[in-house]
């Protein structure tokens, strides 16, 4: 599904990613862990199409296409979803209008008719239950006045609405209490099928108790320095990142 080959990325002349190699297949759950500043969020943003980053070397092939030939909205319509670490507030744009516009763009892309108002509301209701999001929130402006936990739930709600092939969840666990963490993780697990893949970017092992990865990578200083099964997360939890750092130096 996704093949990253020797990816180098800069921002303002500073190299952040220094040769990433990664392959993701349908049905897999990958966890990318690593200390602060290792480049985890940069990787997520570059895959979603954030323009402030410069790819200096390497390539990313997504379902046979060069990902960097696609605009962010095209990537989204082809099934890439980024769960933001810091979801953006958009005053004046209602959640309903936002989601309806996005969903209908996806449908148009697939050659489907736009959903009728009643079908759309029905779908919203269904998906809201999945992430146990408060009904009132969807009547408000996008993320405006949402608590940290509500914003993260809202990301998973949007993911549920858009049904991506490849979901990249950037620190979706940060700022969540244990109940919200469970709800968010349950939502992600329910959306998992044999045809889609999930990349969970996280700092802590905690989330991985709920979303069990098939493969765990450790990103350190712009490179993937370790790849292993889910047991790697437990080792990291126990020994901390210093263990990796020491091993590298």
């Amino acid at each position: 599904m996704l093949k990253i080959k020797d990816l180098h990325v800069e921002i303002e002349g500073k190299e952040i990613l220094k040769g990433i190699n990664l392959e993701i297949k349908p049905g897999e759950v990958h966890a990318i862990m690593g200390p602060n500043g290792s480049g985890k969020s940069t990787l997520a943003s570059v895959l979603a199409g954030r323009e402030i980053f410069h790819v200096t070397k390497g390539e990313v092939i997504y379902n046979g296409e060069n990902l960097f030939d696609l605009l962010p909205e095209e990537r989204a319509k082809k099934g890439i979803f980024l769960g933001f670490q810091y979801p953006i507030e958009i005053p004046g744009v209602s959640m309903v209008n936002f989601m309806k516009t996005a969903l209908n763009e996806h449908r148009k892309f697939k050659g489907e008719e736009p959903l009728s108002a009643s079908d759309f509301l029905k779908l919203m209701r269904e998906k809201k239950e999945l992430v146990e999001i408060d009904s009132k929130l969807t009547n408000r402006s996008v993320n405006e006045g949402f608590s940290g936990g509500e914003k993260k739930k809202n990301e998973i709600f949007q993911m549920a609405m858009l049904e991506p092939k490849l979901a990249i969840l950037d620190e979706t666990d940060s700022g969540l209490d244990i109940d919200a963490l469970r709800i968010v993780a349950n939502g992600v697990n329910k959306l998992k099928t044999a045809n889609n893949a999930t990349v969970v970017i996280t700092h802590y092992q905690r989330l991985l108790d709920y979303i069990v990865p098939d493969i765990v990578h450790v990103l350190y200083n712009g490179k993937i320095v370790k790849t292993s099964g889910k047991e790697l997360a437990l080792v990291l939890e126990e020994k901390g990142y210093d263990w990796i750092k020491n091993e590298m130096e």
Binding site: A48, P91, G92, F98, T101, E105, H106, F109, V142
Partner: protein, 461 residues
């Protein structure tokens, strides 16, 4: 260079002075002495002072001289319109039932359909007719708030106006349907026109008024409008202005609000389209407990130019004003906002808030904003804030990452920006309609607020 400039100003004023002398008998014809006396003072003041040049702070970004230099025709008699505008100009705002009156080139339209179901004592009439037949009705109000010395545009209007509207809502009357005033420009040539409106909402009365300005012919227009609006003790008024003229129009509109004790006013100035528009809005809170929510928005592109020059005067204690103006500027458009809040020495417990937010979509558009607070009382709450910026890049990326293309994402953000103002409109069908027009405007589709058969295009340059 300097001398040339002064010289050219004098030429425009000299022309207007000659025009006045030649038209004096027409101008005097229907008006009572108290109007004509003020006319004479007005033309004298105008001759003496001229129009303000861009050297004057208040007109620094808006060059009137250039606009006056255009050779407009002047018609000092009621226009002859050989078609029935009531038929042509059906307002297609769904579910909006109004008391509808039309003006043409500043004149009360003589074939206005009679208004049905108005409560007793309500007057919606030609100002000319009232001045001629019942001048005592307007004597108390005419020229009482305006200053021909301080504002050349008022002097200009006072010298030349002949007609307009007189609206009077008597004490304790609550008007259930809004009054809709449609000001039409329609001619076979370039035209300069004048209109004077006096609106009085008497004690404890309530009214909603919607005024729309339209061009229905492809000529250059210069219109001068002065509105004198009185909201008496305990009275309530919603006053909505919608400016929707083509790019070859110059619109000079002065609006004066005077409010007495515990009166409540909401005013909206929505500018959808126009060539050069200067709105001078003066609000005087002249009785304790009065409140004014003053809103305005313009959406301009190409070489359009809008200058909103506003002033709120807190003359008495315990009044509330909240001013929110916004602008969206595309292409080479130029916008100006001046917001002056004046709090008189005795106006304690004043609450006065002002915000001006603008979005600039290109590198070539220009916005000048200037808050100006003058506070002479010590126990007041006042605030102001102005922003000029671009659309939020983070929000754009967020939307694009969900599959919304850049163009639509930008549109969504622009609607969101405008809706904060439009949501304050308290006539639901009108709000829906303006929302719709704003969306069309942003999409670059021609926004017409009527299903008229005129092709309201611009004249050739």
């Amino acid at each position: 260079m300097e001398f040339d400039k002064i010289l050219s100003t004098y030429t425009v004023i000299d022309q207007l002075a000659d025009l006045y002398d030649n038209a004096r008998s027409s101008l005097y014809k229907y008006a009572p002495p108290f109007i004509n006396e003020l006319r004479e003072k007005a033309i004298k003041t105008l001759k003496k002072n001229g129009f303000p040049s861009t050297k004057k702070e208040d007109y620094r970004y808006t060059d009137l001289e250039e606009k006056f230099a255009h050779p407009y025709k002047n018609v000092f008699s009621s226009p002859l319109i050989d078609i029935d505008l009531n038929e042509v100009f059906k307002c297609d705002v769904p579910n909006l039932e109004t008391h509808l009156v039309l003006t043409v080139n500043g004149w009360f339209y003589d074939k206005n359909a009679p208004l049905k179901g108005l409560p007793e004592g309500v007057i919606i009439e030609s100002l000319k007719n009232v001045a001629q037949n019942n001048p005592e009705l307007i004597q108390k109000y005419f020229g009482k708030q305006v200053s021909i010395n301080n504002d050349a545009l008022v002097a200009f209007n006072t010298a030349f106006f002949q007609d307009g509207l007189f609206v009077y809502i008597p004490k304790n009357i609550i008007l259930d349907k809004p009054i809709q005033i449609i000001n039409i420009l329609l001619s076979d040539n370039d035209l300069m026109s004048f209109q004077r409106n006096i609106i009085v909402v008497d004690e404890n009365a309530e009214a909603k008024i919607v005024a729309c300005d339209h061009t229905l012919a492809p000529y250059h227009y210069l219109t001068s409008q002065v509105n004198e609006i009185f909201v008496e003790k305990n009275a309530r008024l919603d006053y909505y202005t919608m400016q929707n003229e083509h790019n070859a129009s110059t619109q000079l509109a002065n609006t004066y609000f005077n409010q007495k004790e515990n009166s409540s006013l909401i005013s909206h100035t929505v500018t959808l389209h126009g060539g050069l528009i200067r709105n001078n809005i003066y609000s005087k809170l002249d009785g304790e407990g009065a409140e004014h929510n003053m809103y305005g928005i313009f959406l301009i592109d190409k070489n359009q130019h809008v200058d909103n020059y506003t002033q709120i005067e807190h003359a008495k204690p315990n009044c509330y004003s909240n001013e929110l103006f916004k602008g969206v500027l595309d292409d080479y458009a130029k916008g100006v906002f001046r917001g002056r809040i004046y709090v008189a020495p005795d106006a304690q417990k004043t609450n006065a808030f002002q915000t001006n937010n603008n979005i600039i979509l290109t590198n070539n558009a220009e916005m000048h904003t200037k808050p100006q607070l003058e506070i002479y009382a010590d126990d007041v709450k006042c605030s102001h804030g102005a922003t000029v910026g671009q659309l939020d890049e983070e929000a754009l990326f967020y939307m694009r990452s969900r599959g919304i293309d850049e163009k639509n994402a930008r549109l969504l953000l622009m609607y969101a920006f405008a809706h904060e103002i439009i949501d304050q409109i308290r006539i639901e069908p009108l709000k829906d309609r303006i929302n719709n027009l704003v969306e069309k405007r942003f999409r670059g589709e021609l926004s017409k607020c009527n299903n008229c058969s005129y092709n309201c295009r611009e004249p050739e340059k």
